[in-house]
Amino acid sequence: MEPIVIAKNITKSYTKGLRALDNVSLTVNQGKVLVVMGPSGSGKSTLIRTFNGLESFDQGELNVLGIKINSTHDERKIQKIRRKVGMVFQQFNLFPHLSILENITLAPINVQKRRQREANEYGMYLLNQMGIDSHAKKYPNQLSGGEQQRVAIARALALKPKLLLFDEPTSALDPERINEVLDAMRRLAQQGMTMVVVTHEIGFAKDVSDQVLFMDSGKVIETSTPDIFFSNAKHERSRKFLNQLDKH
Amino acid sequence: MKRNRKIFFQLGIFIIFITLIAILINNLTINLLRTGIGFNFNWLLKPASFSLAEHPLPYSASDSYAWALFIGWMNSLKVIVSSLVLSSLVGTLIGFARTSKNSLLGLISAGYITIIRQTPLLLQLMFWYFVGFLGLKDNISIHIKNLFKLSNQGIELPGLTLSSEFSALLFGLSIFTSAYIAEVIRGGILSVSRGQWEAFRSLGLSERKGLFFIIIPQALPAIIPGLTSQYLNLAKNSTLAIAVGYSDIYAINDTIINQTGRAIECFLILLISFLLLNLVITNFMELINRIIIKPIKHN
């Protein structure tokens, strides 16, 4: 089993000595799904945003797909990583001025220099996989939140990434739209995609994840398999967090 | 490495920029030498030897160019300040009319705004001057008792005589600017949420009281920046004075260039004059902002 992400002692501090990330280490192996949980402000989003260089860090070392980056934030290496790592955001962040298909083919055509026709064909295939190929010519604001998020997943897949990062992909959705996105993510996991998912969806974490990582105040509190984490979490803080989630 | 590249890049741009400027200045000096004009400001102290129809301070043709420019400045300020007041009054009225519940009033103010905004200011100024004032025949003048007299000599009020040039410019600028100010006022009033109207109505406040105590204070923060830019435009537009023969700062610069050929010096003078003027207007509006808006926000 090949490790896709290896993080070693990553630390990121804000100006007043507050730590967004405090000595975080983890490994994600190929084909595995890691779910990151934790209260808001615990640093989970910051953590996965370091994986594709959207956030820099002050100490430690990160190895993504064999490319090593550290606190110097080398643009060229980060660019290399971004071509192999897809990301899906909480607010979808589709490009409002491009059609759905253009959103998906923008990067393949301009970053990977694929031919337009080839990119379109693959884009249509991905949209078909996500069950939204009939919307290809529409623009993002004509779609529902769930549909937009599925387009965002297709866009992230268009570069044929080795790793997918999800930053609270269902938090901005209406409750009745959440499942259509989670189902798409389930199918990806079944196809063997390596994923790191920040989410509060316990059901998804139980069914799909191979490991759950729980964070609080920038620190990794515990890393367990979902069976253990949800029935018999090792840490007091994890149990407290799960109790609060249950109440909602 | 990255930092070095950045500095290198900037240096490159700087060198290109300097070369470009150098070529332009080189051409300029060649041309200035060829025409024998040169570049200096000594001429400012020489007698202007042109007369001015309007001067708020004593002025004669034997005074210096510098003094003539200063008179131009005063004339500009005079027309800018008076149009500023007049256009604000008219503009506010029309802005309210535009948002009024009386549809006919709204329709008419909309018509006024489209006619004024969709035709060039220069055309309007010429209309006011040639038709509005010079069009009046010598014997036709409008008298209202002894208080107000309108003729091709301008406007006469007790203790105040306004030349036809000044009056035409004042009218044209004020009417033109008022249409824009009306839109600013309307935008400000519309920016206050509908809930606020419903709230004061539900409290039993009358429409007028609600407008003055609830709506306008909240609309002001949106109105002031719009007004500032309209006042800046007004100041710049006042230079069209030259079309009706009023001697403002620009018209005097124009005369001086025709007399002396000192285009570059005059351009610099004009540039500095307007930078100053803009500074005055923005600071004035900032002051108003501080006096009116801040207390509202704190309460």
């Binding site: 962040n93 604001n141 992230a156 | 051409n27 009386n102 006042s238 124009d254 285009a263 570059i264 803009n278």
Partner: protein, 339 residues
């Protein structure tokens, strides 16, 4: 019958809903009637429209040779057709691909028709005038100032302090001075900055000066657009591996242009009106032609007729431009998410 009754009820609701409103409405209607009566009476019985009717070719084409006037006429008709096409235009996609190109190509097409050469009788710019010249000045200056304005806006947002400072100084000082001075000094100073022997004629000096002036305003409009693009758009583009220039080209500029579109169309309507300033700087565009006709002893003193006619023309073209602009904005809105 029912329709008429509801119409009157509606009318009553609109104008006579309460006592005060009714009084205001009545007074306004009375004043309006008297004004319209007077104006229409004057327009029909007193005005002498010969100053307009006998000079129509002058207003349209200036002193363009009579037997060649089909050339500017063709150009203006093609512009009108294109405007109609844009208004009735089919789906946006098709519009973007072909109509934009068509609009841009109207400029070289018009210049060819006006200048002549290549089979047409050459005519110098001294003979250009009237509405033709006004439209030419507007089109050329807007088309030139758009790219220039975009570059200025990007420079002002750039991470190089020197570039940022220089463009800020340029933009701020251009916006501080009146247009008439830029045009006047453009006519005077541009020849001074050129090498000896190279000359640009009045029309192009005017276009150049307009471009220098308008691009500063356009730059600020586009900067406003750039600033209102949420940073998450840049993050999303970054996560897809697009580089800095690709982000500017594919994400920032298209979105900034869409956001700034209403401001940009206002700029070009303003520019159209402001070309009239060239009338006092020696070009015989629409207002200039009006002035020179008024200087003709035959028509002396007929200010009102000429000015009303010119005002109508300006108003009409401005309205066409505004309608086109609103149409374009609506089309753009379809694919603009409300963020």
């Amino acid at each position: 019958m029912n329709l008429i009754i509801t119409f009157f009820i509606k009318l009553r609701k609109l104008f006579f809903s309460n006592v005060l409103n009714s009084i205001i409405s009545l007074i306004i209607i009375l004043i309006l009637f008297s004004i319209f009566f007077n104006i229409f009476g004057w327009l029909i019985f007193n005005a002498n429209w010969k100053v307009v009717t006998s000079n129509l070719p002058l207003y349209a084409f200036g002193s363009f040779p009579a037997n060649q006037q089909w050339r500017p006429a063709t150009w203006i008709i093609s512009l009108l057709t294109l405007s109609m096409l844009t208004l009735l235009g089919p789906e946006w996609k098709w519009l973007r691909k072909n109509l934009l190109l068509a609009w841009i190509s109207t400029v070289p097409f018009g210049l060819y028709l006006l200048y002549g050469g290549l089979g047409l009788l050459p005519i110098t710019s001294r003979h250009w005038g009237g509405l033709t010249l006004t439209i030419l000045l507007t089109l050329c200056s807007s088309l030139l100032s758009l790219p220039f304005g975009i570059v200025l806006a990007l420079c002002r947002q750039s991470s190089f302090p020197l570039v940022k400072k220089l463009s800020a100084i340029y933009i701020d000082s251009m916006r501080a001075i009146p247009l008439i001075s830029v045009l006047f000094f453009g006519q005077l100073l541009i020849p001074l900055f050129l090498p000896v022997g190279i000359e640009i004629d009045r029309v192009w000096r005017a276009v150049f000066a307009f471009t220098l002036f308008v691009s500063a305003y356009i730059a600020e409009d586009i900067r406003g657009g750039l600033q209102s693009i949420p940073s998450t758009q840049i993050e999303a583009a970054n996560s897809l591996g697009l580089n800095k220039y690709q982000i500017i080209k594919f994400i920032l500029i298209p979105q900034a242009l869409r956001i700034a579109l209403p401001a940009l169309t206002n700029q070009s309507i303003g520019l159209f009106q402001n070309t009239s300033l060239m009338a006092i700087l020696g070009l015989v565009e629409l207002l200039g032609i009006g002035r020179s006709i008024l200087a003709n002893p035959e028509f002396i003193g007929q200010y009102i007729e000429v000015y009303i006619w010119l005002a109508c023309l300006y108003w009409f073209v401005c309205t066409i431009m505004a309608v086109l602009a609103r149409h374009l904005e609506k089309r753009m809105l379809i694919n603009q998410a409300i963020v």
